[in-house]
Amino acid sequence: MRALDAKLLRDLRRLWAQALAIAVVLASGVMVLVVAHGAQRSLVETRAAYYERNRFPDVFASATRAPETLLAEIAALAGVAQVEGRIAARVILDMPDMLEPAMAQVVSLPASGTPVLNLPVVRSGRLPDPLRPEEVAVNEGFARAHGLVPGAEFRAILNGQVRSLTVTGLLLAPEFIYVIGPDTMMPDDRRFGVIWMGAAAAAAVFDLDGAFNDLALRLVAGADPAPVVAALDRLLAPFGGTGAYGRDRHIGYVFLASELEQLEAMAAILPPVFFVVAAFLVNMVLGRLIALERQQIGLMKAVGYGTGAIAGHYLKLATGIGILGVALGWAAGAVLGQGMTALYARFFNFPWLIFTPGVAAFALSGVVGVATAVVGALRGVRGAVRLAPAVAMSPPAPPAFRRGLLDRIGAAVGLRQTTMMILRSITRWPGRAAVTLFGVAASVSMLVASLFSFDAMDAMVEEVFVLGNRQQITLALAQSRPRAAVEEALALPGVLAVEGAWGAPVRIARGTRSRLIAIEARPETGSFVRVLDVAGRPVALPPAGVVLTEGIAAELDVGPGELIEVAFLVPPRETHALPVTGIIRQSLGQQIYMAEDALFALLRIAPQVNRLNLLVDPAALPTLHAQVKVTPALGGISIWGELRAQFDATLEENLTMMLLIYVTLGGLITLGVVYNAARIQLAERSHELASLRVLGFSRGEVGFVLVGEMMLLATAAIPLGWLIGIGFASMVVAGFSTEMVTIPLVILPHTYATAALVAFLAALAAALMVRRRLDSTDIAMALKARE
């Protein structure tokens, strides 16, 4: 078959630009699959190894103050392998390089030196000496953000006393792969860190001698955490236990898990689009090639080539395109995958990375990629195989143009003949027009589905920072205080208004579904801290009952008017059946709400606060910050302007990159589709177009016939793409929303406009590329060609 193979190679060489355009579309799908799957595999492997080697716990719990003697009892529970009690607390830091206060999570190290669970990785320096109370280790990210090295000093407000601490080492730990402060949406290494401190020092500072307030357990392999969690709740209740939970409520675990889910969603949603478009392109190009080679096929049959050999010949061509696409996709995927995984590793504070490019993803994408091309070729090949040799050799009947409705309308409104040529060509080859239309629509829809994430983020920013939280500063109190603290806070420098809130851990349940969550009691009508209804409008809290976010309501499968059980994990530790009186929208974070008067009446306790939301005079901020740094009662501070800046910066960094990738991918689809369609039109109609030139039409007018048709189809595809895009966007919302983040389905006009513009420009670029060929074709040659 060497002669046939020679033909194959020459066909490929002749069609290289078209083959490449298809291959690029195919490669995009392969690349996304390889990258998403590779990153996913690498993260899963890395997480598994890190959690195992450094003993990430299975169950966590906190209490106010539990005696160390309780640990033996806990260790004896069925299924428990290892137990470690320690001291954990939030503190405010006075960093020399920051005007405003920073915050940290303090965790104690056992007197023996190294902990049993959550084994830290020492990145530089050493662990603190248990006998030296001023020595601490800090997490690497925080140290990097502040330029701290072993030997450096900084100040912390520990239980009301300003203390100077010395850094001995920089650490990482499996429980801190994702370091995020309370009330924040994004990790911020400057404002929030982790401090490891010797047990004796911590006990002295937090007044917890012989006691612990934080607990971690590792279970024996395969043990069910649920009974252990229940037992812990029972054992810790007398000591102010705030609810035990498994890994599925551990913030670092959950964040990584949701990231993995998103990668999975990406690998599931995007590649099929590329594959389908590529299959249609192969179908279009090969279908046309086979139509063109009808006589050659007839000849091959006449001289004794069997159908298998002929089918094989064209399938090889398709396979060639498939292999090219897969190779390109693999190469791009390998490079991008490594980069992406490294990015994740930085984001998720892993000490090392197991990069497993995912052989399965390569294999799968390779098979699917080639299969895509082959499937796309099948229709054309079947036609080729079916041709009777005698029929094949007679030239095909000239295309049957018929005068139809279109023509009468065209004539009635006085369309020019060149315009009529465009319309007729579309109605004459509806299949080809449909491929162009759907290809461009796919590209527009992909752009809509990716660009809308900016709108969604804007909506979230609006929701969190503009509508929901209009305070500039939120102070977290170390302990609950009487409501009088609200008036006292007004005395702080520069404070213009104060609204208090009280948060507490609760376990909510309905039927068999239950979960640990925070409840927040607020004034019914907060003037600057507000909840939003499902339409995004600020609303007052109902005077009684609990208000759930949409996510929680869905999780518990509960609606307004129905009862849920709320078990308070703070004194008086009561369980109440409360009606759901409202469902609200909250994209970031999950909690439930209740009007404070109703809550305190229900629990029969004096009104309390443990959060203070402030409006302040910006001019007084420095004085306020200085005051906060020395106020003993404070456990934390959130500066909303800074949060927003951090949020915007992180989004900008991540989304801009994604935007670039998606716009490129979306643009490539249109480019590939329109380029191929235009090339086919050019080849098919070069005779006709050359005739127009002979008749005295200018290059521009003739070009219009070609470019005009493509642009007409591309323009018609845009609204269709918008519609499909809305569908994709809702898939993205469903696939990418997690427990932490509910992505709102918001698509703003400018997203539609941008998607349309990108597709339109890509189509124009492709059509003009082909037009240049038209300009350079020799009229005389084109007329002679018998094609």
């Binding site: 078959m1 060497r2 002669a3 046939l4 020679a6 033909k7 020459r10 066909d11 002749r14 006589q295 050659q296 007839g298 000849l299 091959m300 049959k301 006449a302 001289v303 004794g304 080539y305 069997g306 159908t307 050999a309 009777a388 040799p389 005698a390 050799m393």
Partner: protein, 237 residues
């Protein structure tokens, strides 16, 4: 000449084309025999059914009725695969519009056939026989019409076929090139002994044949044996 065994035998062959709207009766009962080494010209007006008959003899098409034998093999009963096999091993075709593969050179166009034939001659030899030894590596677009047709002949004879079927091989050519093509065909018939059937509607061409079969309206109207054959160069065009 013309005294060898029978290669083809057609008995009451009919062919109806059913295009849905209309039925066209292309052949209305053709009886015919073709002997080894014979050179036959099929003559007839356009639309009389010559191509249809040739396609049926060559296994490109099936008759609606009647039977066709190649030696003692019944082509009317053959499966698609058997017909393919038959075309591959025994028949050489030459068509009016050459039907060369444009992306293959002259040599490769011939190789297309020799690669799948049983005992072919080298492509170079086939091209040499039609006087194209100097055009081996030219693509069809670089050859004149007559040269392209001679490549097609080389392609048809390279497998040493027992029958050579030519449908208006000179139909698209001027006199000079037409004569060259006919001369090549006569030479091949003489040197290789392939039974040769040429369709033409040029009355004058009939004088180069051993035998002339006149087809009209889907039937054999008349058969004539030529006492003396004329070389192609002496045919009035």
């Amino acid at each position: 000449m013309g005294a060898g065994g029978v290669v083809f035998r057609a008995e009451r062959v009919t062919k109806v084309y059913d295009t849905g709207a209309v039925k066209v009766q292309a052949l209305r009962g053709v009886d015919l025999a073709l002997r080894e080494g014979e050179f036959v010209v099929l003559l007839g007006a356009s639309g009389s059914g010559k191509s249809t008959l040739l396609n049926i003899l060559g296994g490109l098409d099936r008759p609606t009725g009647g039977r066709v034998f190649f030696r003692d093999r019944d082509l009317t009963r053959a499966s698609d695969a058997e017909l393919t096999r038959y075309r591959r091993d025994h028949v050489g075709f030459v068509f009016q519009f050459y039907n060369l593969v444009p992306s293959l050179t002259a040599r490769e166009n011939v190789a297309l056939v020799t690669e799948i034939a049983r005992a072919p001659m080298p492509p170079e030899e086939a091209l040499e026989r039609v006087g194209l030894a100097h055009r081996l590596d030219h693509f069809p677009a670089e050859l004149s019409g007559g040269e392209q047709q001679r490549v097609a002949i080389a392609r048809a004879i390279a497998k040493r076929p027992e029958v050579l079927l030519c449908d208006e091989p000179t139909g698209a050519l001027d006199r000079t090139t037409g004569v060259q093509v006919l001369e090549a065909l006569v030479a091949v018939n003489r040197d290789l002994g392939a039974a040769t059937v040429i369709i033409t509607h040029n009355q004058a061409t009939q004088r180069i044949a051993h035998r002339v079969i006149l087809i009209a309206d889907g039937r054999v109207l008349r058969e004539t044996l030529n006492e003396t054959r004329v070389p192609p160069s002496e045919v009035d065009w």
